[in-house]
Amino acid sequence: MSAHANLERRRQAIYGWLLLSPAAVLLTVFAFYPSIATLWSSTFSRGTRRKPTEFVGSENYMDLFADPIFWQVVKNNLFYAGITIPVSIFIALAMALWANSKISARGFVRTAYFTPTVLPMIAAANLWLFFYTPGLGVLDQIGSMFGLPSVNWLGQPETALWAIIIVTIWKEAGFFMIFYLAALQTIPEDLKEAADIEGTSRWTYTRRIVLPLLMPTTLFIAVNAMINSVKLIDHLFILTKGGPSDASKLILYYIWEMAFAFFDAPHAAAMTILVIAVLGIVAAVQFFYLDKRTHYQ
């Protein structure tokens, strides 16, 4: 019997590793090895024809910390995250509350909210270009009806990042809405009935009952929005290319530019490591802190 069990265990081990191996190979080649290679190459200087690459330790990182553009980009990205995360969560919540209530044209409303989610960011940027273009754009046309002067939304440092932020919110709010919508549908009807019998106002009901019950969903969405604030940069390529004078440049775009426009892979690698470190902290916080707090649902 024990020999049989032993055989079965060996068989499972062999099968297990065999089934895992294709995925393991690809994950190694395109995730683990590149992560380590990035760390490695971030400690070497950029090779030129005269000077070959050499080990420089933390010099690339020091260069970044001394680079005013880097700090500008970090500041931009923090601002981008600081606005897009709360605003898209708030809009998503409003959308879900509306799309879940008994209003007329509910089907149309839901579709309209969700549609931007299925569009590529590049297409979204093209659509918004039509709004932002100075003189011809929809925003300027509306402004001129009220006698406002033409504004170059994408061309001036004060408004360029805002223009980018609005497109991001437009793109992700409808996506986050569906998670709220699903969560709202799990709230039992009798809570609402009990609140009605007690004569609770709708505002109190929402604030005291609905919002606390939606807390786990909010945390889930917040983590996703945080990841999006690193990832969603495609529209920069169409709308501003990070300009004017770096006012709307975000980190991932800067990494791309460093590596593929300035051909400076070592500094791009150093920046990548910093981004991975931040994402790792977000992951750890979610794993050790938030997951424990969301089990009361």
Binding site: A13, A23, W128, D234
Partner: protein, 269 residues
């Protein structure tokens, strides 16, 4: 009082909905009118399909469509095979090192493929896959997210079915193919919808790895077509944009419920 709040709710919801699809509506309007009528918002100007014709002739769109179609197909097939095998191993087999490897896989969830562009580009070039559709698709095939999703789906399969198939003389792969895969169909469908719409829309990585119209997907083609250097006007860009989003958009409008369910299932796990 009650009907007033209900009216206000409907009003607010519909107003927001109109604002939300306004960019699409404007693009549609611009694409079906001449440029000067479009920018002057001439409501009674004649409709035209010329912009679509000009846009279509301006770039090898058919090639781009085929490339995108091939790309999402290659990725989906790769993902199905790899995540099924790995998900099954994690869900139903006992082997040494399993937990450790699983944690490694979960770590990949947070190292976004997007941030590793520099080294992945070097790797794809080393493998001789630069400017190939396979090169664009490969980094996404062993999706940690997909492995996790399939593991959850397979864990939900009753062990009795597994035992019954084994008593009938089915081998391990036979059991996987005949018992687990059919029972996980809803998960496969959800995963397929999410994967296809993600990769149909992906831009940064294809931009880096493709270098010719022979491999370029729609998103990259669209960005090149709309670049200011090309000097195409707003009506033609709108037409090109609508053209390239049309297949996914129409599929979404028809299968809306399935799309929303798919994103939910994939998100909440």
């Amino acid at each position: 009082m009650k009907s007033l709040t209900k009216f206000m709710d409907s009003f607010g919801a519909i107003l927001l909905a109109i604002i939300w699809i306004a960019p699409l509506l404007f693009a549609f309007w611009a694409a079906t009118h001449s440029t000067s009528d479009a920018v002057n918002l001439n409501l009674f100007s004649p409709w035209t399909l010329d912009n679509f014709r000009v846009a279509w002739d301006g770039a090898p769109w058919l090639k781009y469509f085929i490339n995108t179609f091939l790309l999402v197909t290659v990725i989906l097939i790769g993902q199905f095979v790899l995540t099924t095998l790995a998900g099954f191993a994690f869900a139903q087999l006992q082997f040494p090192g399993k937990d450790f490897v699983f944690i490694l896989v979960l770590m990949q969830l947070f190292i976004l493929p997007e941030v590793l562009i520099v080294e992945n580009y070097a790797m794809v070039s080393r493998l001789g896959l630069f400017d190939t559709i396979l090169g664009v698709g490969m980094p996404y095939m062993a999706s940690a997210f997909g492995i996790f999703l399939m593991r959850q789906a397979f864990k939900g399969v009753p062990i009795e079915l597994h035992e019954a198939a084994r008593i009938e003389g089915c081998g391990l792969l036979g059991i996987l193919w005949r018992v687990y895969v059919p029972l996980a169909k809803p998960t496969y469908l959800a995963y397929a919808l999410v994967s296809v719409s993600t990769h149909w829309n992906n831009f940064l990585w294809p931009l880096i790895v493709t270098n010719s119209p022979e491999t370029r997907p729609l998103t990259v083609g669209l960005s090149i077509f709309g670049a200011p250097e090309n000097g195409v006007d707003i009506s033609i860009i709108s037409a090109a944009t609508l053209m390239s989003v049309a297949p996914l958009l129409i599929a979404f409008l028809i299968f809306q419920r399935q799309f929303v369910q798919a994103f939910l299932r994939a998100g909440i796990k």
